[in-house]
């Protein structure tokens, strides 16, 4: 039940709201509005904003091949990254919440450790580990006789993208394992014990007990995973630098390069790119949300 605000309480309510409201206005709402505004101008960040170009920025963005390459890379990165990390971290989390699994503290620490490395630094470590001349990956593969000649992961677009996806999973895995573990804590152990008595297989337990029980949280985890993956930035800066050439550009890197990368800064252009991408991302994410919802309705209809 919510108490109506009255008397002196009103002052307190205003005081409690103020810190959040001020920052929310300044760093979220106003920037959103300003991004829309800037996107209609040709503005380098210096001097007054006066060169109105209408939809000019948008028409150039739509024709900018680099932008579409960045969009494609970002979506590809987000989808592949999510498709690998969510199921794997769920499996890991399931094991980590079972009583009979040993050494849980050790595993938890191992999986969690990469989280305390800033993602940009992780990128730098891996540029060394993956380098062709004396990096660990090439020297291990050579020692094992799997390859004869060293190869450069960062020489082609696809292997560089794969490296981005895998390093990102390496870094963030523990966080998603933790999300799943928290979700799984709401599933009572007794349910599994009862299923064990009935001789249920692990697969049956997963699909019939675990997934249905954690579904509401799972949808949120899925959305978080997709959206966070679409913001990938630091890793691209340090691991591939958008290369080879510009072939691993992602949208946040594109925006950064346009806005702050080289003089003259192109704030207007970068803002238009940011908005267009936010719009595309919104459609992608909400479309995915709709599919999940529709699937749930269908399941209800058929009673499965």
């Amino acid at each position: 039940m919510r108490t109506p605000a009255k008397g002196l309480d009103r002052l307190w309510i205003a005081a409690f709201l103020a810190p959040f409201l001020v920052l929310f206005l300044g760093f979220t709402l106003w920037p959103l509005a300003a991004t829309v505004y800037y996107s209609f101008f040709d503005w380098s960040g210096m001097g007054p904003i006066e060169t109105f170009v209408g939809a000019g920025n948008y028409t150039s963005i739509v024709q900018d091949e680099l932008f579409w390459l960045a969009v494609g890379n970002t979506v590809l990165f987000a989808v592949v990254n999510t498709a690998i990390k969510l199921p794997l971290s769920l499996v890991a989390a399931i094991f980590m919440t079972r009583r009979w699994v040993r050494l849980k503290r050790v595993f938890r620490t191992m999986f969690f450790a990469p989280l305390v490395i800033p993602v940009a630094m992780a990128g730098m470590v891996f540029t060394y580990l993956l380098n062709p001349s004396n990096g660990a990956l090439n020297s291990i593969l050579r020692d094992l006789g799997i390859i004869e000649k060293s190869f450069d992961v960062f020489a082609s677009r696809w292997s560089a993208m794969l490296a981005l996806v895998l390093v990102s999973i390496w870094q963030i895995f523990g966080q998603y394992m933790l999300y799943w573990m928290a979700a799984l804590q709401n599933v009572p152990e007794e349910v599994y014990e009862a299923a064990d008595l009935d001789g249920a297989s692990e697969w049956t337990k997963l699909t019939r007990i675990t997934l249905p029980l954690i579904k509401p949280v799972a949808v949120i985890i899925l959305l978080l995973a997709l959206v966070n993956a679409m913001h990938v930035f630091g890793l691209v800066v340090t691991l591939t630098g958008g290369g080879p050439g510009t072939s691993t550009y992602v949208v946040s890197y594109f925006i950064y390069q346009e806005a702050f990368g080289s003089i003259p800064f192109q704030y207007g252009y970068a803002s238009a790119a940011a908005l267009l991408f936010s719009f595309l991302a919104f459609i992608l994410v909400s479309g995915q949300g709709l599919i999940v919802k529709r699937a749930q309705e269908l399941r209800k209809e058929y009673g499965v």
Partner: protein, 272 residues
Amino acid sequence: MTARRWTVTLVMLVVGAVWAYPFLWTISAAFKTQQGMFTGGASLMPDLWSFENFERAWVNAGFSRFFANTVLYTVSSTLIELVKSALCGYVIARYRFPGRDFLHKMIIATLFVPVASIIVPQFVLIEQLGLLNTRAGVILAMSGAAGALYVLLFIGFFSSVPDELFEAAKMDGAGFLRTFSLILPLAKPVIAVVVIFQFIANWNEFNIPLVFTLGQPELQNLAVGMLSFQGEHVTDWTGFAAGMTISFAPMLIIFLFFQKYFVRGLAGATKG
């Protein structure tokens, strides 16, 4: 049962070893000499145990300053984020006031706004406030950017506190502030989650410090400082590894001490 237990343990150990390898490699590289690093390949054993790299990173390369900046940014931003989201969440959950529903909806709507896409106006705002290239500017931008998720966590939690508690507080004649100070300690699990997540996120923050400290090494945090260090000392990988080790060691120790609260806190916050 035992066969399964051993298989799972073995598989997890192998995967865990792969997971830990880049970590261990970095730590061992911090003790290697340049020569040992270059010829060492995948080896985790330093050729000579040398502490010289740490000294070089800490003193010459300015990691002591990056470290101090990171601690300052992380602690202040986490505190500001905690306070603003707890206060706002409490009021939205327990009181009716004009614009309440609208505000709640706006917070949900902006949950997924990417920071990277609105960083230009944030930059302009900090510049207008005269805070560009100051520590206050970085802190403000870092603590202003995130928060919608945490407010929602607090709203969820405070809404689930039984009304009887509030009635009882009222009966005892507790005013607005007194009631809040009675209820707040109940929110420990949510507070733990906000602090832990935001502490990690702020410690690792890269985008905001990068943009807001362009060309100002004395203001940079570890993540950004590391990048400029690499730019200036392209070949000093052992110094870089030492800098890395310095930057993640404290977080790792904190995690080892508090890891059980991570899961417990998160589980507590998502319930209800």
